[in-house]
């Protein structure tokens, strides 16, 4: 490539501004994520996942017939968005209970991506992640037990 074909280095007066930096920035990635999330929420609001055809089925459920920890979460979100808290909770209690924590973490991420500063980290013991793993796996197993009261955990 001959020297005349290269764009001048950024600190030379009159050079074109380097716009590629924005597309690699954290704010851009966060914007994409936020846009995608809003599209998903809008879709779930208008189209009830409980009705066939509105949402692809869970692959785990298709193959095994069992419930994964996420089964019912989209339907639950639809109920919650329409103000029906109890119905939403009944469809996937774990997902509904996790909303405050996930929302706090997401809010902190978006604030940090757009303003540079996130929310304060909630102090939690070092084994918190392991406890979450245990809860998710236990929930996964128990909601597939076909008798009361475990059927309450199933969608």
């Amino acid at each position: 490539m001959a020297p005349a074909d290269r764009p001048p280095p950024p600190d030379v007066p009159g050079s074109p501004p380097d716009r590629s930096g924005f597309f690699r920035s954290r704010a851009f990635r966060a914007s994409l994520l936020l846009a995608g999330g809003l599209v998903f929420i809008a879709w779930v609001y208008f189209r009830d996942p409980a009705e066939p055809g509105n949402m692809p089925s869970c692959p785990f459920n298709l193959v095994t017939g069992l419930y994964c920890p996420g089964c019912g979460s989209a339907r639950a979100l639809h109920q919650l968005l329409h103000g029906r808290l109890l119905e939403g909770f009944a469809l996937n209690p774990l997902m509904v209970l996790s909303i405050p924590f996930v929302a706090y973490g997401l809010a902190s991420y978006f604030l940090k991506s757009f303003t540079g500063r996130g929310l304060p980290v909630i102090p939690s013991p070092w084994w918190t992640g392991w406890a979450v793993l245990g809860i998710v796996v236990a929930y996964w197993i128990l909601r597939n037990v076909p008798f009361f009261p475990f059927t309450l955990l199933a969608p």
């Binding site: 995608g36 998903f40 879709w43 055809g53 509105n54 949402m55 692809p56 869970c58 692959p59 785990f60 994964c68 920890p69 996420g70 979460s73 989209a74 996937n92 774990l94 997902m95 996790s98 924590f101 996930v102 973490g105 997401l106 991420y109 980290v121 939690s124 013991p125 070092w126 084994w127 918190t128 992640g129 392991w130 979450v132 793993l133 998710v136 796996v137």
Partner: protein, 125 residues
């Protein structure tokens, strides 16, 4: 080794992080006793792991949670390099789980929208 400021993975012989410019000491050994504490807390990425497990793709979401769970324990025991690696893996697997959930969803939405449009052309509303 990893940059103590931004977590960028670096070869052992550089003097400065090529991502953020922070000067890096050469470590004699990479055991937990010798590691410098990070300048900012290492994120566990547990939120991303939970979110993708509950909405997207099951096996990869669980993998992400397993790695996220390791971060705080390793940080507490001084294994900052291990914690950084677990943190990065938690984020990577969350992203893989996200893609596994997102791509079928997008294809589905496109097919439905195309289907609705194609259907509307045939009917008089």
């Amino acid at each position: 080794m990893f940059c103590p400021k931004c977590g960028q993975e670096l070869p052992d012989d550089v003097a400065r992080c090529y991502s953020c410019g922070e000067p890096v000491e050469h470590l004699q050994a990479t055991g937990p006793v010798q590691q410098r504490p990070p300048l900012t807390p290492i994120p566990s990425n547990l939120v991303w792991a939970i979110l993708t497990t509950l909405f997207c793709c099951l096996p990869f979401g669980i993998v992400a949670i397993v790695y996220a769970a390791q971060v705080d324990g390793k940080t507490a025991s001084g294994d900052y390099a291990g914690a950084r690696e677990a943190s990065n893996k938690a984020r990577t697997w969350s992203f893989v789980a996200f893609l596994c959930g997102l791509i079928p969803m997008i294809i589905y939405i496109i097919l439905i929208v195309i289907g609705v449009l194609a259907g509307a052309a045939d009917h008089n509303f």
